[in-house]
């Protein structure tokens, strides 16, 4: 793995677990064994690394979720598959997403205000809602927002309250919404 990739990968693990402000550059360096000069050769600042980590996670997560949805077909089947995918995630059955610790974008967004991070997080959510919209009856924007709401609710409920069955509940509500 190239040094930049290694830094991004390790930084994500640490940020996801402990929070972004709680993890210093020196910790990322010592965990990776990479020299400080090398980090600043590839990233102009910690902020730049943070943004690269968000882009990295966005790609991994979006690719995983959309492929799980498309794999199940189109339309309602894809929407229902979304919640099956979440259920697998909550129960740590998705190796590529790492052990479930909530939504990285929600967490990252909460640590900043009026910052590039907020824009990236908002865009990530918007992209997913757009993808959902393409699979919803009448391509209704309203319906897509409601499905997104159920998705966010399931993630938050699973993480903060420890309700690992939240995705199953959300799926039932989604099904009744689509009917």
């Amino acid at each position: 793995m190239s040094k930049p990739d290694l830094l991004i990968h390790t930084a994500f693990e640490l940020f996801y677990k402990h929070g972004i402000h709680a993890v210093g550059i020196n910790r990322i360096l010592s965990e990776t064994g990479v020299a400080k000069k090398t980090l600043y050769h590839h990233f102009s600042s910690k902020d730049a690394l943070v943004e690269a980590v968000l882009v990295y996670r966005d790609q991994i997560f979006t690719d995983w979720l959309t492929s799980r949805m498309m794999q199940a077909g189109e339309g309602n089947a894809a929407i229902l598959a979304l919640f099956d995918a979440l259920d697998d995630w909550f129960h740590d059955k998705v190796a590529e997403l790492l052990p479930f610790k909530g939504c990285f974008f929600v967490k990252a967004n909460g640590e900043f205000s009026d910052h590039a991070v907020n824009t990236i997080c908002q865009k990530h959510k918007q992209n997913l809602t757009t993808f959902i919209q393409a699979n919803v009856p009448r391509r209704s924007a309203e319906l897509a927002q409601s499905i997104s709401l159920l998705k966010e609710g399931a993630i938050a409920q699973a993480y903060v309250a420890g309700d690992l069955e939240a995705a199953k509940r959300a799926k039932l509500m989604a099904a009744s919404l689509l009917a």
Copy 2:
């Protein structure tokens, strides 16, 4: 206002807006005009202050939400009132909660792991779910979890995606759930 209350109140404002790790003790001190010695006279550490802030917000928020619910009656009426209350919150019509910036407990929880903060946040959510359960048909725990999920989803969606009408959507889904 007593010094401890002033510290807690100001710390909450700063933590809520910028995140907990992003706000240092010195900033809280300079914004309040309180001396450092005084802070450490009342709170043994920053962690102790953080916990006091969480307890403070828990009280404000829970009192507000439960009174809004009870004010509307009992049972289904109370549940529907919950979403009306959220709608007011999102649109900054509730002065005592300060300008809406998402759920403080979700944000705080995301900044720590294996920490007293996580326990407090989880307990806060549990207490609200218990209150919801008392107003749900058959006092069903399942149903209460689903309502909580809708509540969390609405807050996350309103904050991260900027969908200020999320509470209205959640209310519709809740109504169909209660029918």
